[in-house]
């Protein structure tokens, strides 16, 4: 091997350092030691012919490499790079390329001159390459990001109450709603309200996501008024008397206002608005109230909710910003409306029976249990997302990830159904003083599983599948009940069961996709 060292052109200076890196010597080398020759060429020799080399034998310095242990060890001078390597240990270990170390060295103020004088290397790149080569890579995890899917469990209880409390309005007012057909009129109103408010919520969220504040206000105002009007009209068409019609109008308006307040993140105000209803219901249970006082609680709650919702709408309309062109097509909200309608139909059928057969005793307790469980359902949806993100962090292959999401899906559904079963049993005990019969409880759990999985699909952006599956189940139940009333219950259980199977299949396919979790 012959190596040419370019020292400074005006000859070596005392501070010049030459570092030679020799390949490791073979253990079984033929010779016990090797000799290196270092020759300092006279000025100008390099530009002449090679023959000049032989003329200056005295310029050659011989270095002998000796076997370790054969002689007194000579202490080597400390390489100043060692100190640098120690100081930059972290940077070097996490570097992906020598360039990364060079960039840090230069940002640290290292110039090529310093590289030469202090470290005896040509430039920052040479130092960086050496440091990169001699450091073992480490792969520290980046700082843990905050879990965006954290949810407060206490909040879930409150959310459940928020959904269930309005039901208390029936307690003091039930005596005015005894006319024939009152039940089906109110059920129809609720059905229309759920469908339209689902669609309305989608539209408002969609406008908000494009930053159009006024458009949010406009859609809430128009949508809320439409839902109220159509809900009331549905009751009128069903032949409601004045009292029932008034109640239906109030219920429709309340649903619209609650939608507005939930979308505008005013759950606390909504809770406050419900206080008079809760107080009225409690008083009804304690004493026999006069008629006007029975109506006062719900009426006051409705007025408060309407005022609060009005304020939120007004604040948004006042923003006066332009809605972006294109907007939110009505067709996009269609599956949301359809889903609300179908779920409404399924819940009403399961709780109150349908027009072709008498209501199950204590059936309304199922509706109460479902409503109360909605807060928990929301929380579990957050848990699912949070656990999927954890699974993304801990999986390296798609199969690992799919297994983990499958397990999470089953675990969370089981957890939800356990709590729902407890709520259903408790509500039925309170209502009728008896345990619910297994068929009734089974129906409730199937419906709960369907609802939760459908909501999960919506969270992952699959809107049409749950809408279509729930609609098909609702249609199948009603048709079967109409054609063959005797087997209505069996038909209901089979239809819901098939729908649960279908949604779980779609949910597995959807949530097992890595890209669904970005």
């Amino acid at each position: 091997m012959s190596t040419l060292l370019n020292l400074s052109e005006d000859g070596p200076r005392p501070e010049d350092t030459v570092v030679l890196h020799l390949p490791p010597r073979r253990k079984d080398a033929d010779r016990p030691d090797e000799t290196l020759a270092l020759r300092v060429p006279p000025p100008g020799e390099l530009t002449k012919d090679a023959a000049g080399a032989a003329r200056n034998p005295d310029e050659t310095l011989a270095l002998r490499v000796v076997e370790p242990g054969a002689a007194e060890p000579v202490p080597l001078p400390d390489d100043p790079l060692d100190e640098l390597a120690e100081r930059l240990a972290d940077v070097c270990a996490r570097a992906v390329h020598p360039f990364e170390i060079a960039a840090v060295l230069e940002s640290d103020g290292l110039t090529d001159e310093q590289a030469a004088v202090r470290y005896g290397r040509t430039d920052s790149f040479a130092i960086a390459e050496e440091l990169f080569a001699r450091t073992e890579r480490r792969h520290p995890a980046p700082p843990e990001p905050n879990d965006p899917w954290q949810a407060d469990p206490l909040r879930t209880v409150l959310r459940g109450l928020l959904f269930a409390l309005p039901g208390l309005a029936y307690l003091p007012t039930a005596r005015f709603l005894q006319s024939a057909g009152a039940g089906s009129a109110l059920a129809l109103t609720a059905l229309v309200g759920w469908g339209l408010n689902q669609a309305l919520a989608h539209r408002a969220y969609a406008w908000r996501s494009v930053g159009a504040r006024s458009a949010v206000g406009r859609s809430l105002l128009r949508g809320g008024l439409t839902a109220t009007a159509l809900g009331t009209a549905a009751a009128a068409l069903a032949g409601a008397d004045t009292a029932v019609l008034l109640f239906a109008a109030g219920q429709s308006l309340y649903l619209a206002c609650a939608t507005v307040l939930l979308i505008t993140r005013r759950a606390k105000r909504l809770m406050g608005a419900l206080a008079p209803t809760a107080a009225g219901a409690a008083a009804t249970l304690a004493v026999d109230l006069p008629d006007w006082l029975r109506i006062a609680g719900p009426a006051l709650s409705l007025a408060l909710a309407a005022v609060f919702a009005g304020i939120e709408i007004w604040l948004r309309l006042r923003a006066g910003d332009e809605a972006p062109a294109g907007g939110v097509p009505l067709a996009d909200s269609l599956p949301h409306g359809l889903f609300g309608l179908a779920v409404g139909a399924l819940v009403i059928t399961a709780s109150f029976g349908d027009p072709w057969r008498p209501a199950v005793p204590g059936g309304a307790s199922a509706a109460v249990a479902l409503t109360l469980s909605m807060g928990l359902a929301e929380w579990l949806l957050f848990r699912f997302r949070s656990r999927s993100v954890t699974a993304l962090h801990t999986s390296t292959t798609a199969d690992q990830f799919r297994n983990r999401t499958d397990r999470t899906l089953l675990l969370l559904i089981a957890g939800y159904l356990t709590v729902l079963a407890a709520l259903g049993t408790g509500a039925c005990l309170l209502w009728t003083g008896k345990l619910p019969d297994p068929v009734q409880l089974g129906g409730l759990l199937l419906l709960g599983a369907l609802l939760w999985t459908a909501l999960l699909l919506q969270v992952f952006g699959a809107v049409w599948p749950p809408a279509l599956i729930c609609t098909a189940a609702a249609l199948a139940e009603s048709t079967a009940g109409a054609l063959h009333p005797a087997s209505a219950t069996a038909a209901r259980l089979i239809a819901t069961g098939l729908a649960v199977g279908a949604t779980i299949c779609v949910a597995r396919a959807r949530t097992g996709r890595i890209t669904a979790h970005r």
Partner: protein, 537 residues
């Protein structure tokens, strides 16, 4: 709202004809048509590179300019008034919703995935780097058809990445890349590749005013139409990426994304007809990443000596002045420590710091003020804040200081020199090239050395005066705005001419150096050689 500002058209549609955008009389535009390629600067924001672009554009009123500007999001307002000879501004937003389009299907998708796999390997495997260029241009074809973003965001593309990362021979496999890492890396890559959809028209010269993503449309135009591609670098984009991705990302993500930026730099340097760094110091990175030395030519920033005339008499009280943005990169702590040493020797001395504190920089400023108080010089160090006329800042000092730990070719320094002030500055970036022997240059982060230099000058008024005169002469001779503009005018003309008369055998490197420049370069190389210890074997 400027009517010329429009986003890149939806995939598959041809850009509007120029005349339809703005009917102006272009008959007087005799020069080369230049398409300026920018990222995060001109004409949507302010700052050093934007000033430079504006100087170039306004300095060549007879040249038609177009701009393809990579912006953060769509719909950013213009920050500059554009003269009439800027005939088109096209914004390419990196963020915001993905451009509309469909991923390829069936066999086309399989072909895409095979190419994508080769592309990813070229970023991670040193043996596969040759595939980067060819695969990049295939991705560009997909991008122009609107297929790239949806294809990259597909489940199949994600699995390709996860599989490539885990190949045992690649360093990334040891880092146990998670699927979350794959999502993050795909996201970063998808956004970074959006400028591939920009399709510059044939003809003229494509001029990227920074490395990195701004070069993407230039590479595409060069690949499709052979349009000459010119690359100017004030800083080193690649070096800044390495610093920016330091700790925030998992190792495999970093390896992939920085691999992309490194290979993009390599491709840009290889395809550029000419690379023009803003100082000679930056050439090191360019040459290291493969730019052939004969195709690199330093073009310095310039100032107008008439706008920065001699500053007049020096202040009565011995004063050091400093001008700039109050930012950690300016290392004011070293300056304050150095001043404390100066003040111990010259008790009446003052340090005046001119310049605003950027948003979020208040903490740094407070730290500096606290340091001055700790050193017992709180009264003598004054933060003057923003000044209306920056020339007052230079006039305020007997000596103008620059203490930065990183610079390109700082405007403040050549402005102070143009005002005829002696300077003490740190040896970073192109500072040494700017100052020459008309000021003192000290190592960065060394208060003692800086104090020694400042004292030397404060105690010798004759030397100060002589250096100040020399500094102004140096600016007039080497760093005027006119010279910068003329250099680029010549480069544009030459590239355009070469392109038009290019023949099959005329592909050798063009000699860019005037005899004077060649001499200067030889002298600089010799100077550099004296201090370096080279080894080859």
């Amino acid at each position: 709202m400027n009517t010329r500002l429009h986003a890149v058209p939806a995939a598959g549609t041809e850009p509007e004809a120029l005349g339809a955008v703005r009917p102006v009389d272009l008959a007087h535009l005799v020069g080369t048509r230049v398409t300026m390629l920018t990222e995060g600067t001109y004409p949507h924001s302010h700052g050093g590179v934007s000033v430079w672009c504006d100087q170039l554009v306004t300095g060549m009123p007879d040249t038609e300019f177009r701009v393809i500007a990579i912006t953060g999001t769509a719909g950013q307002p213009l920050a500059w008034d554009l003269p009439a000879h800027v005939t088109d501004v096209r914004a390419v937003p990196l963020w915001g919703p993905a451009p509309p389009g469909q991923a390829p299907k069936g066999a086309a998708m399989r072909a895409f995935l095979t190419g994508y796999e080769r592309f990813l390997l070229s970023l991670l495997d040193p043996a596969e780097e040759d595939a980067f260029g060819p695969e990049l241009y295939v991705l560009a074809d997909h991008a122009r058809a609107g297929r790239l973003s949806p294809a990259l965001r597909s489940e199949a593309a994600l699995r390709v990445l996860a599989a490539v990362w885990n190949r045992p021979h690649l360093a990334t496999s040891a880092a146990k890349p998670s699927l979350h890492d794959a999502l993050t890396a795909t996201e970063l890559l998808e956004h970074a590749l959006r400028p591939l959809a920009a399709h510059p028209k044939p003809g003229g010269v494509l001029h990227a005013v920074s490395g990195g993503l701004a070069a993407l449309p230039g590479l595409v135009g060069n690949h499709l139409h052979g349009t000459p591609f010119l690359l100017t670098e004030h800083g080193i984009y690649l070096r800044e990426r390495y610093l920016g991705y330091g700790t925030g990302y998992a190792w495999p993500v970093k390896a992939l994304v920085l691999g992309f930026y490194r290979m993009l730099a390599v491709e840009s340097y290889a395809r550029a007809a000419l690379v023009t760094p803003g100082n000679r110091y930056n050439r090191r990175w360019e040459e290291r990443a493969g730019a052939p030395a004969e195709r690199i030519r330093t073009v310095y920033n310039g100032v107008d000596p008439a706008a920065f005339p001699p500053a007049g008499p020096e202040p009565e009280v011995p004063t050091l002045s400093w001008a700039g943005r109050v930012d950690p990169i300016k290392d004011l702590e070293t300056l304050i420590r150095a001043f404390a040493i100066v003040r111990a020797e010259i008790p009446g001395a003052r340090l005046r710091l001119f310049g605003g504190t950027p948003a979020g920089g208040a903490a740094y400023r407070e730290r500096c003020e606290a340091l001055a108080v700790d050193l017992g010089i709180g009264d003598a160090v004054v933060f003057e804040g923003r000044v209306d006329d920056i020339r007052d800042a230079y006039a305020a000092g007997n000596v103008v200081m620059l203490s930065s730990i990183s610079e390109g070719f700082p405007f403040t320094l050549i402005e102070a020199m143009s005002c005829g002030r002696a300077t003490v500055s740190t040896d970073v970036g192109g500072v040494r090239e700017a100052v020459g022997d008309t000021g003192l240059v000290v190592p960065p982060r060394e208060p003692e050395a800086m104090a020694k230099a400042a004292l030397e000058l404060l105690r010798d008024s004759d030397r100060r005066a002589e250096m100040g005169r020399g500094a102004r002469m140096r600016v007039i001779e080497q760093f005027t705005l006119r010279q910068t503009i003329d250099s680029f005018r010549d480069i544009y003309r030459e590239l355009d001419r070469r392109d038009r008369f290019r023949t099959a055998d005329d592909s050798g490197p063009f000699d860019w150096w005037t005899p004077a420049q060649r001499e200067e370069a030889a002298a600089a190389e010799a100077a550099a050689g004296r201090s370096a210890v080279g080894a080859a074997g």
